[in-house]
């Protein structure tokens, strides 16, 4: 079994704040609260943080031009991008302000670019320029368009690295994570609030519902008039790093009118791959993250319209995420973020409909919840910097200059043992990921933390090495899981082994 909590004993006590959902919003809040003298518990139904929409998106730091000026989306996007970059600096999470091009493939789409530009200007987005096809191709070779809006302040960040780094640093600073706890109900009691899960009950003075796609349904357990959410799946393709060598910035189409997404775009990742997507299709099942062949073909053809040289033979993987949309399939478009207080119950805060730009906005949402709501009622002092424990996101060995690599190997010989050839992951990096403070031992969790099995061979090379390391550490085959106890990688041994 994976260790699912950091320390279970607090389950019997009432914590100051319980956060439901360890996505980027819940983790941002946990991270920010870990800097204050208060007790915090995070309840997450999966066996790791950031496994839902937070880890399954474009990884774009939005500039802030897609939202009307008077919306929470605009406000939290603009504030969130500054905080996100500051927090990435604190946590050593890599990000790049690479800029983006929004391209018009037909003359009639240029008006749409102008609308975005004026909305961006109203929101305070700096440096935008409407440019011609030659200038666009000079900024990003190979791009076909009739015009483009260049947005230099757009950026990229690894969404799971950011989420994991915040959660891990929160954990080493005293926040308790209950992983594999499926919160089913929020229940006010005489003295406090209770969160009921099949695994147990968490008691808290404050509850923040950051349950993503499940936030609406969960809110309704205590607040029947809370709105429904509509799951809308976005599928992506991942391209080999070889493709990343020729894409320097994000490339978006002119926004589709009434669409549930921003259109199929190309985005470089901080690790050098290219993401292509997302689709936008409403589904019934909020956990429906499977991919379809038809959609993959559509993603490729739409992306090829903007980037004809797109190397379709360099697809190495696919994934899908679920948008938590407030707008129904009939309505389309986007709803605004909803920060809802439960009538007659003071200390429950629901964060509902946090779809795009949720990643960018998450730190600002956390800041808002703390500054405007919690600290209006509470007097928690900040924890002095000298008392804080650090768990910085590790700089990848593969990205170090050659002379630093030799030094690292001299410091720790396990850095010489490269276990993942595609991503250049060393055994020392793998062991660091394995010893994460959340106690996550799933193969997917280790993958997100050090990139082993994440490259072009999908683990063909490193899985045997990982198995050898963990078998040497005493793991039985049954202990290997992809995402938790329900997804065992193996079923046992072939011949009985001696255990002396």
């Amino acid at each position: 079994m994976n260790r699912t909590t950091c320390k279970k004993d607090t389950a019997d006590q009432t914590v100051d704040v319980a956060i439901i959902g360890a996505g980027v919003v819940g983790s941002s809040l946990a991270y920010a609260l870990s800097k204050l003298r208060c007790s915090v518990a995070v309840i997450e139904k999966e066996h790791d943080v950031g496994t839902g929409a937070s880890g399954r998106n474009s990884g774009v730091i939005h500039a802030g031009l897609n939202y009307a000026p008077d919306t929470l989306r605009a406000r939290f996007c603009m504030r969130g991008r500054d905080l996100l970059m500051a927090w990435c600096d604190e946590l050593n999470v890599p990000y790049t302000v690479c800029g983006k091009l929004i391209v018009a493939s037909r003359m009639k789409e240029i008006d749409g670019l102008r609308r975005l530009q004026s909305m961006g200007e109203a929101n305070g987005v700096p440096g935008m320029a409407l440019i011609g096809p030659d200038q666009a191709a000079a900024l990003q070779p190979g791009i076909h368009c009739v015009a483009a809006l260049h947005v230099p302040s757009s950026g990229i960040v690894s969404p799971y690295a950011f989420t994991v780094a915040m959660a891990e640093e929160a954990a080493v600073n005293g926040v308790t994570f209950y992983l594999g706890w499926n919160a089913e109900r929020i229940r006010p009691t005489d003295s406090d609030l209770a969160i009921d899960a099949p695994q147990g009950t968490i008691r808290a003075r404050w509850v923040v519902n950051a349950a993503g796609i499940h936030a609406g349904r969960l809110a309704q357990t205590v607040d029947p008039s809370a709105p429904d959410l509509f799951p809308c799946v976005g599928e992506y393709l991942i391209l080999d790093k070889q493709a990343g060598e020729s894409l320097g910035m994000s490339v978006y189409p002119a926004p589709p009118v009434g669409g549930a997404g921003l259109g199929v775009h190309l985005t470089p990742t901080t690790e050098g791959n290219v993401l292509l997507g997302p689709s936008d299709e409403y589904v019934d099942d909020p956990e429906q993250t499977s991919c379809t062949g038809k959609t993959a073909d559509r993603l490729l053809s739409e992306a090829q319209a903007m980037w004809p040289d797109l190397p379709a033979n360099l697809v190495i993987g696919a994934y899908a995420g679920i948008r938590a949309k407030r707008t129904s399939p009939e309505t389309g478009g986007f709803g605004d973020f909803l920060i809802r207080r439960t009538p007659n119950v003071d200390r429950i805060i629901h964060l509902i409909g946090i779809e795009s730009p949720g990643l960018t906005a998450a730190p600002a949402i956390a800041e808002h919840v703390i500054q405007e709501i919690l600290l209006a009622c509470e007097s928690w002092d900040p924890v002095p910097a000298s008392e804080r424990v650090r768990r910085p996101w590790p700089t990848r060995f593969d990205e170090l200059p050659e002379e630093d690599k030799a030094q690292r190997v001299a410091d720790d010989p396990d850095h010489g043992d490269i276990i993942c050839r595609c991503e250049g992951v060393t055994k020392a990096e793998f062991l660091h990921a394995l010893s994460n403070p959340l106690g996550v031992k799933t193969l997917t969790g280790i993958k997100y933390r050090c990139r082993a099995t994440m490259g072009r061979c999908s683990g063909g090379y490193c899985l045997p090495r990982i198995v050898e390391i963990l078998r040497d550490e005493g793991w039985a085959p049954e202990q290997f899981t992809l995402r938790g106890p329900a997804s065992p990688s193996f079923v046992g041994t072939l011949i009985e082994e001696d255990h002396d």
């Binding site: 991919c291 690599k405 490269i418 045997p464 992809l482 995402r483 329900a486 990688s489």
Partner: protein
């Protein structure tokens, strides 16, 4: 930690059949040779191939993979090759400097010639874009072979195998022996991708159904594979509506092709062939980067390890001769050798005018009956091979006489 020489005549990267044979051959030619392999144990994938069928051509004997590797390992040792295992070459610069990484050390090796013999990797689910969920229980056949044969791990109980490549066929039999139920082997092409002998010995002998012209079109199961949807494909590669059926299983193995592992080569500036995904080489197996040679599965996918080893020997000899300058493998290779009708690829892609005879390796595009593979230059036939039948699963070889050639050579099926 043993120390190895950091300046050598020839470095061979990869210690599978091609690399071991190349290193032994280069050393027998008198070169000072270092072989570097990333695994703790030399032999490459042969070590996990505990079935027999190796060595028939090279030694006239039936050997298992490890036995076959052992032969070449001894040849290398007898010839005085320095062997450096558990060391990964992370960078190759065009001037022959290799960055090598191993436990506790990161160092540079300087060479006069380098032989690339890194082998290949398996095509993955992501590359062929199988739709559906992403549960545990999806493995490439070679990884499954390692887990089964080298790690004593039972990967699943009810197995569907997609692709009739040789590793998939071998694994169908292997998993059956280990008590798993192999539900079916599914192949998208109308003919098997693996060798006929493996179809007989691994599927027919065990009553494992082979569904030709079918593919897995959806994977089901949120956490672990629960079942797969299988659909029929027509001659245009489109699914036949209504042909879908489902197979319950907890494991899906993929044996859907191998890809030469050329990231190191590409970064060194080695020009690659779009069809083979291996280097574009001359008749001496020299790549577009002078002094860098390529052989085995990193050059093109072989059907038998015997042929990969033989190719390694030829590349090893060339590398040694390049270093000592007795012959001139570096002469301009001005004769292009091209695939024509019915031929998917030919290796080498170029030949020196001064070469007298050149051995070509090739694959046909589709199964054929009686076939003559003919190499033609201008009006002259410079080489010919008559076959009772030809199959893409089988690598064919034909020797051409360049002395008879009047310009470029085209190889075609007639």
């Amino acid at each position: 930690m043993t120390e190895y020489a950091h300046t050598v005549d020839v470095a061979v990267i990869g210690g599978g059949p091609a690399g071991l044979a190349a290193a032994a051959a280069a050393a027998r030619e008198g070169a000072d040779v270092l072989l570097i392999d990333r695994n703790p144990q030399l032999g490459g994938i042969l070590n996990q191939c505990i079935h027999d069928g190796f060595g028939l051509h090279a030694f006239g004997e039936v050997l298992t993979g490890p036995e076959f590797a052992h032969r070449y390992l001894h040849q290398a040792l007898d010839a005085g090759v320095q062997l450096q295992s558990h060391t990964l070459v992370t960078h190759l610069s065009p001037d022959g400097a290799l960055t090598c990484s191993r436990y506790g050390a990161r160092e540079t090796v300087h060479t006069k010639a380098t032989v690339l013999a890194m082998g290949c990797r398996e095509r993955t689910r992501g590359m062929i874009r199988i739709p559906g969920t992403r549960p545990a229980g999806v493995y490439t056949a070679g990884t499954a072979q390692w887990l089964t044969n080298m790690a004593n791990i039972r990967i699943g109980r009810r197995v569907v195998i997609l692709g009739s490549g040789d590793i998939g066929l071998i694994m169908a039999r292997r998993l059956t022996w280990e008590g798993a139920e192999v539900v079916a082997v599914i192949e998208k092409l109308p003919y098997p991708s693996g060798l006929p002998r493996n179809i007989n010995q691994c599927l027919l002998d065990y009553d494992i159904p082979l569904h030709l012209s079918h593919s897995v079109t959806c994977i089901h199961g949120k956490d672990r594979v629960e079942r797969v949807t299988v659909s029929r494909f027509d001659e245009h590669g489109c699914t036949v509506p209504g042909s879908e059926f489902e197979l319950a299983c907890d494991t899906l193995l993929l044996s859907v092709g191998l890809i030469p592992e050329n990231e190191l080569s590409r970064h060194a500036g080695v020009a690659l062939d779009r069809t083979t995904c291996g280097a574009d080489v001359t008749d001496t197996y020299m790549t577009s980067v002078p002094g860098v040679f390529s052989c085995g599965n990193v050059l093109h996918i072989h059907d038998l390890a015997d042929w990969a080893a033989e190719e390694g020997e030829r590349a090893g000899v060339s590398a040694a001769q390049y270093v000592d300058g007795t012959t001139r493998p570096s002469d301009p290779a001005s004769v292009a050798v091209r695939p024509g009708d019915g031929v998917r690829y030919v290796v080498p892609q170029r030949a020196r005018q001064t070469a007298e005879t050149v051995l070509l390796s090739l694959r046909v595009t589709a199964p054929r009956g009686p076939t003559t593979i003919r190499a033609v230059s201008g009006d002259a036939v410079v080489g010919e091979l008559r076959l009772r039948k030809a199959h893409p699963a089988t690598m064919e070889q034909v020797t051409i006489r360049l002395s008879d050639a009047s310009g470029d050579v085209e190889v075609r099926c007639e």
